[in-house]
């Protein structure tokens, strides 16, 4: 049973560019959440997708957008990259009926130069 998989694992971008990160949830899960973890910090909630709709959103600007596909996989897009967007981006999956247990992928490390 594959867990949560994310791609790419590492990437480097320059300021102003755009990036797309991808996530495949754990088998049987229908909800995908994205978190940003800056160096030395705890993860911060970006948004959550369920039934191809954004269900919740954290305190992140509109430059951060997402999408969920019919197979429950998800993408995180960040436009107009800033140096401060450098972080580990974590995807977590869960079942819509669960009480909150999330399963995390290993993350995508984004460096913005």
């Amino acid at each position: 049973d594959a867990g949560v998989t994310q791609s790419p694992t590492h990437l480097i971008k320059t300021r102003g560019q755009q990036v797309t990160l991808r996530c495949s949830p754990k088998s049987g899960h229908d909800t995908v959440s994205w978190y940003q973890q800056a160096l030395g910090q705890g993860p911060q909630f970006i948004f959550q997708y369920y039934e191809e709709e954004e269900r919740q959103r954290g305190n992140f600007p509109d430059r951060f957008s997402g999408h969920q596909f019919p197979n429950y996989s998800s993408e995180l897009n960040v436009n107009a990259l800033l140096l401060g967007d450098s972080a580990l981006y974590l995807c977590a999956s869960s079942s819509g009926t669960d009480t909150g247990e999330l399963f995390f992928g290993e993350g995508s490390r984004l460096t913005v130069l």
Binding site: V4, T31, G42, P43, R55, L90, A92, S94, T99, F104
Partner: protein, 112 residues
């Protein structure tokens, strides 16, 4: 707003010694509480969780945590640490709809 505080940024213990990592939360009702562990360059692995019932919960890798409503705390403990326990530990609360609010984390170093 819901929040989680982990007062200790960095803790060092000797291998074989006992461990307690502190976590305090701010939330209006009884929350769902979690402890996650993160090894360097890795994602987060769930150690244990508290939803309701017995306030002492057992997790993986020999960890346990105790929920104390009067102190708004959910401290993580282990009787005897192993070198492989060196990692970053995060306490988290779920205020609703599967959205986790994390503490800043406690980095655990093990001395041989």
């Amino acid at each position: 707003a819901q929040s989680v505080t982990q007062p200790d940024i960095h803790i060092t213990v000797s291998e074989g010694a006992s461990l307690e990592l502190r976590c305090n939360y701010s939330y209006g009702a009884t929350p769902y509480l979690f402890w996650y562990v993160q090894s360097p360059g890795q994602g987060l692995q769930l150690l244990l969780k508290y939803f309701s019932g017995d306030t002492l919960v057992q997790g993986i890798k020999g960890f346990e945590a105790e929920f104390k409503r009067s102190q708004s705390s959910f401290n993580l403990r282990k009787p005897s640490v192993h070198w492989s326990d060196a990692a970053e530990y995060f306490c988290a609360v779920v205020p609703g709809a599967q959205k986790l609010v994390f503490g800043q984390g406690t980095r655990l170093t093990i001395n041989p």
